[in-house]
Amino acid sequence: MDLGRYIFKRGSQLLPLLFGISILAFLLIHLSPVDPVEACLGKEEASLLAPEDLAGLRASWGLDRPLYGQYFIWLAHVFQGDFGISHLSGRPALAVIAERIPATLVLMGTGYLLVVVLSIYLGVTSAKRQDTFFDHTCTALSFIFYSTPNFWLALILVYLFSVKLGLLPVCGMASPKALTFSLPELGRHLILPAAVLALSTSPWYIRFLRASMLEVLALDYILLARAKGLPEKMIIFKHALRNALLPFLTLLGLAFPHLIGGAVVIETIFAWPGVGRLLVESALRADYPVVMGLTFLFSVFVLLGNFLADIAYLFVDPRIRYGGEAD
């Protein structure tokens, strides 16, 4: 199948999924017994409002319409780039979300980079030294970190590095005293959250790369390279790693959901002003427009990651391009 058509076909499958997830989120949120007015204003305050004011508020939030009506109005507005007005702040939901995006991108970007570096370094080294002490330690640690709740890791690191040693800040993105933005300050605040994100995400990738390196290192052409007397470094990095990286590259596209899921929890613990913490805050206060917007944003991001992974596979493995569809 030719490349353009494949990309188009694969891309066009994304839209129905986005519809699906928006309908699902909408239904779940709107079927809930939580009253958005009460959740937003607080029970006491809501009961103080006059009934007609309450009705007016509900009408202005569109809550007086039937469910399908609310959904179609929401959808029509989304096509115009309007995600509604945040109940909590009274500002457009999109603006509320947009101002939180950079913080999350900084955290996730750093975490992602660390995941790539960690998994390539540790994956390759432990495959190279299979069954040595290094390999066994690395395997044991991967299993342990894979089974560790990320919030627990965050708390323990905060205790060690912030409370006991006093080296790093406990939370936030900048110290409250700082009036202007400074990169070293951001870096100091970033170390712990990014480390937690990377440590809790990478074990799986380390294991995967190790396994795929071992598979490649057992192939005949590596034996040939060894027989030719090529230096070990060249065999590992030029011959083996290049092939082992193929499946790994596409896997990195699928890392987005892990990173987003991790970011939500980590941002909440470290009071990192990103979209993950915004999700928890708005969900707890029943701020529908923001929660819907974020759900939409996250699924776009995840689907885009899957899509890119598929496309990347086309480029690194031409067999799929000519052999029909990728599964």
Partner: protein
């Protein structure tokens, strides 16, 4: 000899044993407060120390094991039942039904489980049954996928074709030929979903969206005592976490061991 399987099973058995015998093992009641004993570090009296209300952390952890394990096993049971049914029906019938079911799977997979769970639990009241429902709703897709692909390959095998040629009805084929053959991969998937569910419950309870604090679970013990870390009380967070890690590790080992034992030909990538 399958070391992973035995190691995982032994540890898990130990935790189950602790949870079942909780009332006999604990000298303190998990919710009894005693302000005179608040914030004591681990000692012979209080193995894991006490929290800021003087409650014995060891007793709370042992009672918490009941909730956390119950959630883990119940969710695994639910996800396996849903996953096996969806996978079998989709894989066997193919066509439109399969297509619709797989699109549902894709839709659920296009959001990280933890985010979907947060959104749902925030809008419904937190509590053990809602946590179970949410984790089951978000967790069955992996099992469904495994069972479906297994069914797809099984249904073209000779023994199935032979049974069909002899006039066996669909229900007979599904129950007596396909189901027994997908049970092994489904069991492996179920084991891993116990691990996922224990971690997810801990995370949700930690965020205040899971099990309410009056019923100790490993997650909400840590949530309640998180602030004390800042004044140097580490034991209230450390020990429940270690229990979560070791239990999840044991379950993962059990899963890996089962995979090796039940699907020997399919070693493949050991990740």
């Amino acid at each position: 000899m399958n070391k992973k399987l035995y190691a995982g099973a032994c540890f898990l058995f130990l935790v189950v044993f602790l949870a079942v015998l909780a009332p006999y093992l604990c000298t303190y009641h998990p919710v009894d407060t005693s302000l005179g004993d608040a914030g004591l570090p681990p000692s012979r009296e209080h193995l894991f120390g006490t929290d800021d209300l003087g409650r014995d952390v060891f007793s709370r952890c042992v009672y918490g094991a009941r909730v956390s394990l119950a959630v883990g096993f119940a969710v695994a049971l639910l996800t396996t039942v849903i996953g096996v049914v969806v996978g079998l029906v989709g894989g066997y019938s193919g066509g439109l039904i399969d297509n619709v079911l797989m699109r549902v799977v894709d839709t659920l997979n296009s959001l990280p489980n933890i985010i979907l769970s947060i959104v749902i639990l925030a809008f419904f009241k937190p509590g053990i049954f809602n946590v179970l429902a949410v984790l089951a709703l978000t967790g069955w897709t992996a099992t469904a996928r495994v069972v479906r692909s297994e069914t797809l390959s099984l249904k073209t095998r000779e023994f199935v074709l032979a049974a069909r040629a002899l006039g066996a009805p669909d229900a007979y084929l599904i129950f007596f030929h396909l189901l027994p053959n997908v049970l092994a991969p489904a069991l492996v998937a179920a084991t891993f979903s116990v691990a996922h569910a224990i971690l997810a419950e801990a995370t949700l309870s930690f965020l205040g969206l899971g099990i309410p604090p009056h019923e100790p679970s490993w997650g909400n013990i840590m949530m309640e005592e998180m602030d004390d870390l800042l004044v140097g009380v580490w034991w209230t967070v450390f020990f429940p976490g270690v229990l979560v890690i070791s239990t999840v590790l044991a379950v993962n080992f059990l899963g890996e061991g089962l995979k090796d034992a039940l699907e020997p030909g399919r070693g493949g990538k050991n990740v």
